[in-house]
Amino acid sequence: MFEIFGIPSQALFGQLLIGLINGSFYALLSLGLAVIFGMLNIINFTHGAQYMLGAFAAYLLLQLTGLGYWPALVIAPILVGLSGIVIERTMLQWLYKLDHLYGLLLTFGIALILEGVFRNYYGSSGQPYQLPPSLSGGQNLGFMFLPNYRAWVVVTSLVVCFGTWFVIEKTRLGANLRAATENPTLVRAFGINVPRMITLTYGFGVGLAALAGVMAAPIYNVSPQMGSDIIIVVFAVVVIGGMGSILGAILTGFGLGVIEGLTKVFFPEASNTVIFVIMAVVLLIRPAGLFGRTA
């Protein structure tokens, strides 16, 4: 046991780890937002609610069918992703020609509906979700105790984030996607089904949010307002990073999570607001965001 800046190392590294965990969720969610925004030109306000849906899907799978964490990790994102595809086909697709703000208003309405329905049945208090037994316990690293599950969350989200980055930036599918973002009409002329690509992109982005939700379920309680709590922070993350760059979204997400964790150690009163303050500072210095392209 030793001290850094007068703070016990356990506390410091513990908060750093919590920061990394939060950062994983920020990164996964802002990545999904950026991917969706790139293709649909819509800010998906429902993203937080879909993160909540992922957690509830895991919870309900366990309660109703007895399926545990590992099946839920696959099934929940698919189910929620499919629900996203339904939303895109029935509602969002009619808005692409309108002002972007209508997309924000519509997805805000859907978020209200989802949150209201779940709060009606499950109340405001959270439901506990058990850790998977294979990931309980932890490692003593000498300077801190590292719970296995938290290590798993950080590593998994890193893998998923960089996997997404690789697919979009380095593969043929990703090249088509990026081309369709730049000029959908031309890409359609090449015989690529752009509307289907848009639908699947939305489903994928929503699936990412649900995946984050499943991973969050054992750490935080599963509660109806978990989505609206996090989505506003993620919006700030997106403003700071700018949505032009996938890698930027990932880096900003993890970085801000860590900064938030450190603030909890050194200046706990500001831990709720530090990300918003950073956003204000970034807007003053670099209005386009850290990784944004200046328009």
Binding site: K97, F108, I113, I232, F235
Partner: protein
């Protein structure tokens, strides 16, 4: 965004304004007769929200800026005026002015930050800054945390009129509302308002014509924030309460909903929307969480099928300006 087929807000065509005059007379007449058959406290609540929605509509309807953080100005003005009336023992007119001034200052700071980005980023920034000030309200002692500031004295207006009398209070709310309504009407029909609409339609062109659009947007933002603050300050006196509900993001969502239902960019839309949503909340209060769900459904329906809103739809059908 050049290829937008259907922009948000009022059309630019200028027709004769007789329809607006008639609608105004009907509205003012309604406010005079209404307390006879409608519960005055409900009317005052609806009027405060109508003023709030008018302020919000000034930005979305005439500058094309969607602020998702207007609860910040509404709620903080409520806190400041409640504190001024209760702790500093200021008379009501000064308490309201103090709250409004606080909202103007907050509007200047947040506006200067938010107008650095356009479109949906603007909405996200205002939402994030409002959330920051929500957490701040939760932490600083003077707001009373979860309890809010309760038992705010209404006091004597100009030392003469006893506002604890419901009808006197109602009269004050109506006067403030009508004055603000005419003020907003004047703004949107002034040369300044025309520049705002030009910015909404095509900001780059407005810049190339030599307008310092940032400055126009900031002034519009501060005006809107101050009026939202006025609404919050009056609300704090009417209900003798300023609480966290007023600064929460759901309040920002509600004002968006009211304006959307009434009609974005219409003069009377926010007023109609505030009364419709207010009445709905009153009648559905027993349904608990389902009210949120119903509000969400109304959002979805309005955006998909009913983008002109109630007043916009009437104006469109009758081919008049409202």
């Amino acid at each position: 965004m050049a290829n937008v087929a259907e922009p948000i807000g009022a059309p630019l065509v200028r027709a004769s304004a007789w329809s607006e005059t008639i609608a105004f007379v009907i509205m003012a007449g309604f406010f005079i007769v209404a307390p006879v058959f409608i519960y005055p406290v409900f009317l005052m609540k609806a009027l405060c929200f109508a003023l709030f929605a008018l302020a919000f509509n000034l930005l979305i309807g005439y500058v094309g800026l969607l602020s998702f953080g207007h609860a910040l100005f509404f709620g903080w003005a409520a806190y400041v005026s409640a504190h001024a009336a209760k702790v500093w023992h200021l008379p009501p007119e000064l308490a309201i002015l103090t709250g409004t001034a606080a909202a103007a200052v907050l509007g200047l700071v947040t506006g200067a930050l938010a107008i650095r980005r356009q479109g949906i980023y603007f909405a996200m920034i205002t939402l994030a800054l409002a959330q920051m000030m929500y957490f701040f309200a939760l932490q600083v002692p003077f707001t009373g945390g979860e309890d809010g500031i309760q038992g705010v004295p209404r006091g004597f207006l100009f030392g003469l009129f006893d506002l604890s009398n419901t009808m006197t209070m109602y009269a004050l709310v109506v006067v403030i509302f009508i004055a603000s309504f005419l003020f907003v009407y004047r703004i949107i029909h002034s040369p300044f308002g025309e520049v705002l609409k030009a910015i909404r339609e095509n900001e780059n062109r407005a810049i190339s014509l030599g307008y310092k659009t940032e400055r126009y947007k900031l002034v519009a933002f501060v005006l809107s924030a101050s009026l939202a603050g006025l609404a919050g300050a009056v609300k704090a006196l009417v209900f003798q309460l300023a609480s966290l509900t007023d600064v929460h993001w759901t309040m920002s969502g509600e004002v968006v909903l009211m304006t959307l239902v009434g009609g974005l960019g219409t003069v009377f839309g926010p007023v109609v929307g505030a009364f419709v949503i207010g009445a709905m909340q009153n009648y559905l209060a027993g349904f608990g969480q389902w009210v949120t769900v119903i509000q969400g459904v109304i959002f979805v329906i309005c955006v998909l099928l009913f983008r002109r809103g109630i007043v916009g739809e009437i104006a469109h059908l009758l081919r008049i300006r409202l």
